[in-house]
């Protein structure tokens, strides 16, 4: 198997230590998990600017998710190494 072929992704496996992979997995799954457990945020109070918790929490969690995802992306990009931007 030439190195070019393994780069095409058909046989790609991520580099990096097990610890790094676990951290990345948590960073990706945790925000999704919170969104998936709706009873967690299905409540009225506390309100923010007159918005019930249900609405403002989900909106703010989008921003929190993005932060988690970006950290995961930066870690994955470093694990991937190489030159391409």
């Amino acid at each position: 198997m030439s190195s070019e072929e393994s780069d095409t992704g058909w046989n790609y496996s991520a580099k990096g230590t097990t610890g790094q992979k676990v951290i990345v997995a948590i960073l990706l799954i945790f925000p999704m998990l919170i969104f998936g457990i709706t009873p967690l945020y299905n409540k009225d109070k506390p309100t923010l600017l007159g918005l019930p918790f249900f609405y403002w929490f989900e909106t703010i969690w989008l921003v929190v998710s993005a932060v988690f995802y970006v950290i995961a992306a930066l870690m994955l990009n470093r694990m991937e190494g190489g030159d391409s931007q």
């Binding site: 992704g9 999704m32 969104f35």
Partner: protein, 508 residues
Amino acid sequence: MNNYIILSVFVALFLVFVALGFGSSRFRRGDMSDLGEWALAGRKLGGYLAWFLVGADLYTAYTFIAIPELVYEKGAVYFYAVPYVGMTFGIAMITMPRLWRMAKGKNYVTAIDMVQDKFNSKTLAILLAFTGIVAELPYIALQIYGMQAVLTVMIGHLTTTDANIVTEIALIVSFIVLAAFTFTSGLRGATITAVMKDAIIFASVIVIIVVVPMRIGGFAVAFTDAKTLATGTSTLAGLFLNGFISLTIMSALALYLYPHAINGVFSTNSTKRLRLSTALLPIYGVGLALLALFGILIYAVPSALGDVAKYGAVTVVPSLIYAEFPDWFVGFAFLGIFIGGLVPASIMAISQANLLTRNVVKVARPNIDSKTEARLSKWFSVMFKFIALAFIFAISATYSLELQLVGGIIILQTLPAIFIGMYTKRLNKYAVGVGWAAGMITGVYMILDANFFIAHLPSLQTTFFKFATPFSFIYIGLIALLVNLLFAIVGSLVMGGTKEASVKTTKA
């Protein structure tokens, strides 16, 4: 209100939009090296464009029209769009860099190209290509509904006698213009106009979300005025908890199965940039959340409610803008919403055309050259635009969102072949085919059952299926996907996996 000022601003900006659309192809021809550097070299600006590229064709009339419409009509359950957006990019972070890497070097244009190699089956590829094409149709129709909503409010205030005819003519004219510049400029035209579209939308949403709550005395007032909505107002009614969760997860899984989303992914230049821009996309969703809240805000604005009563709930956002803002701003924001439907419709038609050319025509006639391939795709994209336009004149849906949710049920049936096929060789092509058929039959039957056989509704109104407690309402997409997976997985266990052809045969 001076409605002619609104119209003038709208038309003037539309001309700018058209010029950008046509001009983008000349820009490329005139200075190809510069654009190559800008879009492909991967500096910060390049990453930013990638963000627009993937993000811009995902936030559409779905966001500006369909979600606010149903939050206004039915309440909290349709706020599912927010967790859906948060979740879908996490899924994309996991799946898309891998798909991108598989596509690289094999010059894949569609995800179905990968399926064809992986399962070594042209039949399965053609089946899934048509699934993608069909699933995009109601999604494009939704875009047209959105454009129509803006025109209805704008033209409705200008003339009452021939408003419908004028709206339809305006719609057809803009589609001809769109078809023409997609033909000449392709995805580049769509991308550059998408930047204009999003700049206008962002500016409008921020202004509106600051100004309107201040005028009406805060969000709390609107929530009080909204009283009791069917699925909950300030929180989600317990009966709709499963509906909310199933809509969220299924929509999150569905988005990156759509051919137009794959288009965006494949047009980025590296896995690293793809990852970073995907990671930032939930930020885009904040705009979606704010727009969804317009469905509640409008309850505190009586004159906007009057317009909605006259023109339909589909006009929640345009009516609110019309009621609260000066003429020039109304024209500005209306144009944003209008091209917010037009640009995605263009990208979706391009992706349909790619499927038809690459995975159907090219399979039947493998030796067509690349020039013919491109020419075919151009004409197919024109064709699909007008099929979608005909679709909307022929089919009536009570809520525009339901069109997109039907598209979701259909596209979800490609999940085993694409998302699972990406990772394993153990799926059997016949089992995947049978699973597809079982899922599709289940989905279509349940849609018909929920809308027409049980409730005898006059038009498409729901994609929930009502089960006995404790399940209550569940999105049909979930049921259909489970049936599909059952057949695909059990069948594969019985028959064994398929040998992929690609890795060995395409050693170039």
